[in-house]
């Protein structure tokens, strides 16, 4: 009797395995194996022409004792914190407006689509598109001069840390809007009415009901923003005009100098940093529950 009972579940398990085999192969070969390779190569040695198997800790020693590394990590963290603050603020406000102040569902969907469409267009073009705004003779400078607020063009608009953070916020605010909107839409509206009946003000409803219930969405958005900014090399390079450093740029510079083991060691350190941050954030949210 027990045999016939376990048979179907065993069969179901086998079907599940078959279904995920191609997926596992892809992630195995193009994700797991590359990471293992990076870890391995980070202990290898290299000269001007090539890199070869060895077991040295020099790559790590050099990376971790260099003052440049620490300064760069500090700078990257600064970018991350600033971007996170702005993205969270904007993302929460926009999601709050969409979820609680727009009342018809079709309007909500339409406005939500308006917010998400830029996500499906090219990041590089969206970065380039800031040039006519922020340049020395760009729209921002010429209108400020026109209004008599400044006499000379501001030099720090384009190719500066300001431009980097601006571009990050422009690129990644959506990653906050979408998950926060998603959790807010699932908040039972009667909870808000109950709070109002009990005499809560609009602000109290926001801080005592909506923010706590939207926390998982905020966390998921934060995870996206943190990982995207920490690993970035292209936005920083482009928007700072090559003047600012980031951890990703250290790696990409080492790659372009063909110092693969050094790049691998830097990558492992970056990976550990990112995973540590994510690990802390994951404690506040159960992603499987949020789907």
């Amino acid at each position: 009797m027990t045999k016939t009972k376990t048979e179907p579940s065993k069969r179901a398990e086998r079907i599940s395995w078959l279904l995920v085999t191609p997926l596992t192969c892809v992630l195995g070969f193009f994700l797991l194996l590359p990471i293992l390779t990076i870890v391995t190569v980070s202990f290898w040695n290299y000269n001007e022409w090539s890199f070869f198997p060895d077991f040295v800790l020099d790559n790590y020693a050099f990376h971790l004792t260099s003052a440049v590394t620490w300064a760069t990590y500090l700078k990257t963290l600064k970018f991350m914190v600033l971007t996170w603050i702005f993205c969270a603020g904007i993302g929460f406000t926009v999601a709050y407006f969409l979820a609680f102040h727009v009342q018809s569902l079709p309007a909500q969907v339409a406005l939500f689509m308006v917010c998400t469409i830029p996500f499906w267009t090219s990041n590089i073009i969206r970065m380039i598109s800031w040039i006519p705004f922020l340049g020395r003779n760009g729209i921002a400078n010429s209108s400020l001069i026109h209004l008599g607020i400044i006499d000379e063009p501001l030099e720090w608009l384009l190719y500066s840390d300001f431009a980097v953070v601006l571009a990050f916020v422009h690129l990644y605010a959506l990653f906050m809007v979408v998950p926060i909107f998603n959790t807010m839409m699932r908040i039972d509206k009667s909870l808000i009415e109950a709070a109002r009946d009990a005499g809560a003000s609009g602000f109290q409803i926001l801080t005592n009901v909506i923010i706590p219930l939207a926390k998982p969405g905020i966390m998921i958005g934060s995870i996206f923003v943190v990982t995207l900014v920490m690993g970035d090399f292209i936005t920083v390079r482009h928007m700072s005009g090559g003047q600012s450093a980031s951890v990703g740029r250290i790696i990409s510079n080492e790659i372009s100098l063909l110092q693969y083991p050094a790049a691998a060691a830097s990558s492992v350190v970056l990976l550990c940093t990112v995973l540590l941050m994510i690990g802390v954030m994951m404690r506040f949210v159960d992603i499987r529950k949020e789907l």
Partner: protein, 279 residues
């Protein structure tokens, strides 16, 4: 309906500013790409012309734009098809727990949060060590899948979490085999969502940069080509290209949305015959 409060108007103004912030720059380069032949990278407009668009068609002015576009398009289609198929299979499998499902789930999440440059470097290293040649259709293709698959899978997980299982039970009661249930009941129901997965698959691949950087080999994809241009092209031809790719992206998004709308409409038209036999 409650009267609109003051906070509504404040928030609406904020939302409008956000939308301007999102679209303003892109619209600006859209306008500037019609700059006259002697115009520069910023306003004022020095006449209006299609000069810079024509420039794009001349080989010597810019790199291999059309070749890279064809490659990006082909790669986008490849990534899209594989993402859709594997996401559906994964979504079906994850409907019940199986041994290893938790590990695989975290691997999928990891795929999303591992910095792109690491995937690029790692895949590049593997191909280097194995003495294989990196190519956009092999190493580039695989690296991009590690970015599109988690999106597709997370959408499918969300879809199946909300899936009403009684439809399948009904099909099974009527004698449908498991495959028939999937083919004639499950797939048609989730079809609009598959369009969404396809949209993610195509556009994320079409615009992907960091993961393709070290894995595309000697033939560039379009984003790589554009990035190369940003360092050495200082004329509005860059904007013309930006405008064209953005218009192309919008057209793709529009097409996908249209398909969803048509699917929905067709379903409401022919979907339910409830009550029609009663009269």
């Amino acid at each position: 309906m409650e009267p609109r409060s003051r906070s509504f108007y404040l928030l609406a103004a904020f939302f409008t500013l956000f939308v301007i912030f999102l679209y303003g720059p892109v619209i600006t380069i859209g306008i500037l790409s019609f700059q006259g032949p002697r115009g520069g990278l910023t306003f004022p407009m020095n006449g209006v012309s299609l000069h810079w668009f024509f420039d794009l068609f001349e080989q010597q002015a810019v790199g291999d734009i059309w070749g890279s576009f064809r490659r990006s398009f082909a790669l986008g289609l490849m990534v899209m098809s594989v993402t859709v198929v594997l996401s559906v299979m994964g979504g079906l499998a994850f409907r019940r727990r199986f041994r290893g499902s938790t590990v695989l789930f975290y691997l999928i999440i990891a795929s999303l949060i591992i910095p792109s440059i690491l995937v690029s470097l790692g895949v590049g290293l593997i191909f280097n060590i194995l003495d294989l040649e990196v190519h956009w259709a092999t190493s580039g293709f695989g690296s991009q899948l590690t970015w599109t698959l988690p999106f597709g899978l997370l959408i499918m997980f969300a879809v199946f979490n909300r899936f009403d299982k009684s439809y399948e039970e009904a099909a099974r009661d009527l004698g449908a085999s498991p495959w028939q249930t999937v083919r004639h009941v499950v797939l048609p129901i989730i079809a609009p969502m598959l369009i969404g997965v396809a949209l993610f698959g195509f556009t994320l691949s079409y615009d992907e940069f960091a993961r393709t950087l070290l894995t595309a080999g000697s033939y560039n994809t379009l984003p790589l080509e554009i990035f190369g241009m940003t360092t050495n092209v200082t004329s509005p031809v860059l904007y013309a290209l930006g405008t064209l790719t953005t218009v192309f992206s919008f057209a793709i998004i529009g097409t996908f949305l249209l398909v969803v709308v048509i699917l929905r409409r067709r379903r409401t038209k022919s979907g339910s015959d409830a009550g029609s036999g009663l009269v």
